[in-house]
């Protein structure tokens, strides 16, 4: 950074005071959307917190303990707000915390973070925040960019005007943060700031901010030349669309072309490891239980870790670089044709990773009905939990052939089609909802395009570590438990003291019981059991199938891919793919929908609708394909 980090102290406001109780102190971090709050939060707490170059990443308040320092200080990261008049759910959360109306949380001090490159606009937030009367440190973020692009201002004068300390920082590069530490180590008076005009409406705040701006000799930085030049290409009417399409297909191709060999290698390692680990166990029942039941069950899900991480890597890079906001702009026309608020694009896009954070991200949508519509369609977007079953079935049933040279193979194309099918179902459902029970007046679509930034390895890496951990935890708990139960049930009930044939086991009895209702879809009883277990979470089916086919003597020596090819007709496999595109198999999502809508009604409606849709679509696919493929 060129400009040295500065902290300007204010006369009188830093006198030590006994009014602040010792021990745990709570500090709130607040600022406008995309001003760098979460990056700073990560810097200060070293807690893993998702950061993106996209407005609206933080939708719930998050807390963390400040890393280092003697005093225990709790830091709360609040959603981005433009002012203290809440327009949406996430703004309401921030306002309630700051004003002490949120149960159990009452900040003792405030860190107000503002983007220095947009100071005159962002300063409008300073008036209502400082007027709260809490000790406040104003942090001017992106100091490096601000200086590089020729921006300037008198920090001391600004501190005088605001009556609070002011410091230049760069959250991305971690410079100037000593100012925060110094501020937190001091005791502060809760003295009033009576001199500050109480500004209620935004035009007044803006006039005030403009005045302050001229008094502190604010020179706004030059427009971001690189961002403009990049956008000339990336938002070009021909090149922009072409690059958008290339990026989307490229991601899928890469997930297959790079991910598949990685998964295969991982599988070999896991198989070898499993055999090595059970070598000391004598061949027989126990060994078969461990190796064929448990290890195959858990392992068959684990091998998809490389592909899921690859997908998350691409999403993280696109998000952190700032391209996603451009993608939202390009996709706006489609959103509008579905009658959806343009802001729905943000949550729907994150639903490609997982519907749970996506549904929480709908809090940024001001209109209640728009928000509900977005919540209801989010699980139709193809989440990463579908990746294992998609990859497994596609690799087993679709031969690998190039379609557009190295750019797109038949397998990546099949995957892309499934994503498109899910997206179209979401859009069509939204259209139906918005033109019937959730009709509402149009809300303006306002989207800020952030500057392009280089994604940092640290931010991307942290997200991959986080995601990997969630996936491994799931495999180590839910999938392990399901495999264990299935494995036991395939060996029960004992018949005359002997282990039953698979066909006589408890699992098979349940399977045979539900088989008639699944036969029209082309599924046998083993798939049926898989579907039952996947109500917990989608990827569980792969673990369950791994266990069942691992226990079955006829398929025991095969890989899961070969076992499925041996046991399932191609039409049934395609029907299963389509079933997974639509079905609602995720208890976490149902729980979060229940929480966000405050009733069981909507999760029930959602479950019934999606499962019905999945059944009907799979039925059609199987009936048509089984005749065509004969």
């Amino acid at each position: 950074m060129k400009s040295a980090p500065t902290i300007a102290a204010i006369n009188g406001s830093e006198t030590s005071s006994a009014s602040v109780p010792p021990g745990m102190r709570t500090v709130a971090l607040i600022g406008p959307p995309n001003s760098g709050k979460s990056t700073l939060f990560n810097r200060l707490t070293r807690l893993r917190q998702k950061v993106g170059n996209y407005p609206g990443i933080t939708v719930e308040q998050r807390t963390g303990l400040l890393a280092g320092g003697g005093k225990q200080i709790k830091l709360i990261d609040l959603p981005g707000v433009h002012g203290l008049t809440p327009y949406s759910e996430d703004e309401r959360v921030a306002v309630e915390v700051l004003t002490g109306r949120m149960d159990g949380i009452r900040p003792d001090a405030v860190l107000l973070i503002l983007d220095a490159t947009k100071l005159t606009r962002q300063l409008t937030l300073a008036a209502p925040i400082i007027a709260l009367g809490l000790p406040t440190l104003v942090l001017l973020n992106m100091a490096d960019l601000f200086a590089k692009r020729g921006g300037a201002l008198d920090v001391l004068k600004l501190a005088q005007e605001l009556g609070t300390p002011v410091a230049f920082v760069s959250a991305a590069h971690g410079t100037g943060l000593d100012a925060v530490e110094r501020f937190l180590r001091q005791d502060h008076d809760r003295n009033s700031v009576a001199w500050l005009p109480i500004l209620q409406d935004l035009p007044q705040c803006q006039r005030w901010a403009t005045q302050i701006g001229s008094r502190v000799d604010y020179r706004s930085p030059l427009p971001p030349a690189w961002t403009r030049r990049l956008d000339d290409v990336l938002l070009h009417r021909v090149w922009g669309l072409l690059i958008f399409a290339l990026l989307v297909t490229g991601v899928f191709q890469a997930v297959f072309a790079l991910g598949q060999p990685m998964s295969a290698a991982f599988q070999d390692t896991l198989t070898a490891l499993g055999e090595h680990l059970t070598r000391s166990v004598p061949a027989g029942l126990l060994r078969s239980l461990l190796l064929d039941g448990l290890w195959k069950g858990v392992g068959s899900v684990l091998i998809f870790l490389p592909q899921i991480l690859l997908l998350f890597f691409f999403i993280a890079v696109l998000e952190d670089s700032g391209y996603l906001a451009r993608a939202a702009l390009i996709a706006d026309r489609t959103m509008r044709s579905a009658g959806l608020n343009g802001k729905a694009f943000i949550p729907l896009l994150s639903a490609y990773a997982c519907a749970v954070p996506a549904i929480m991200a709908t809090r940024t949508i001001e209109n209640k009905r728009d928000r509900l519509a977005t919540i209801l369609i989010a699980p139709l977007m193809t989440c990463s939990a579908r990746l294992p079953i998609y990859t497994l079935l596609i690799a087993a049933f679709i031969p690998d052939r190039p379609i557009i040279g190295v750019l797109l193979s038949s397998r990546a194309c099949a995957m892309l089609l499934l994503y498109i099918v899910g997206f179209l179902a979401a859009v069509a459902t939204a259209k139906i909802l918005k033109s019937s029970i959730l009709r509402s007046a149009a809300e303006p679509f306002v989207l800020e395009l952030p500057e392009y930034r280089w994604p940092t390895w640290q931010a991307v890496g942290l997200r991959l570590v986080d995601r990997g951990r969630v996936f491994l935890f799931q495999a180590g708990t839910v999938i392990l438990a399901v495999s264990l139960v299935l494995c036991a049930l395939t060996h029960l009930p004992l018949q005359h003291g002997h282990l039953p044939q698979l066909d006589q086991s408890a699992v098979a009895r349940v399977g045979h019981f539900i088989e008639p209702s699944l036969r029209p879809l082309g599924f046998n009883w083993k798939i049926g059991i898989g579907l039952l277990t996947s109500v917990v979470a989608r990827e569980v089916i792969v673990g369950a199938l791994g266990t069942i086919y691992g226990v079955d003597p006829t398929t025991q020596s095969m890989t899961l891919q070969n076992a499925l090819r041996h046991d399932l007709a191609p039409a049934g496999a395609m029907a299963l793919l389509v079933f997974f595109a639509f079905a609602m198999q995720c208890t976490s999502t149902l729980a979060v929908v229940r929480r966000e809508t405050n009733s069981w009604k909507w999760p029930l409606v959602q479950f019934t609708y999606m499962t019905g849709l999945a059944y009907a679509a799979a039925f059609m696919v199987n009936q048509v394909l089984s005749r065509l493929l004969k």
């Binding site: 002012g83 035009p203 403009r228 000339d232 706006d332 809300e443 306002v446 989207l447 800020e448």
Partner: protein, 88 residues
């Protein structure tokens, strides 16, 4: 400032104007204001999305996209190039 009052959606590419009035519901006005669309603010049409809509405006140091259906309700006064040069 010229006296021909037009809507923001009529602005030509690259042209600058001053916002006069926002004719939308109070909630929508508040939302737009929080992005800097305030009476008296300078606004420039930077580019249009590949499909021709929404459009990207430069306002208060940031780039913000609005749909035509919204920009239609923001009234502006055009600034002639000579006046533009005189502005800081």
């Amino acid at each position: 400032m010229s006296d021909d009052q037009v809507a923001l959606s009529d602005l030509e590419l690259g042209a600058v104007a001053v916002i006069d009035k926002i004719c939308l519901t109070p909630a929508a006005q508040g939302l737009l204001m929080s992005f800097g669309f305030l009476p008296g603010a300078d606004v420039r049409l930077l580019r249009r999305a590949p499909h021709g809509d929404p459009s990207v405006y430069s306002i208060g140091g940031s780039e913000v996209a609005l749909r035509r259906e919204t920009a239609r309700h923001i009234l502006i006064s055009r600034i002639s190039p000579s006046q533009e040069r005189e502005r800081p």
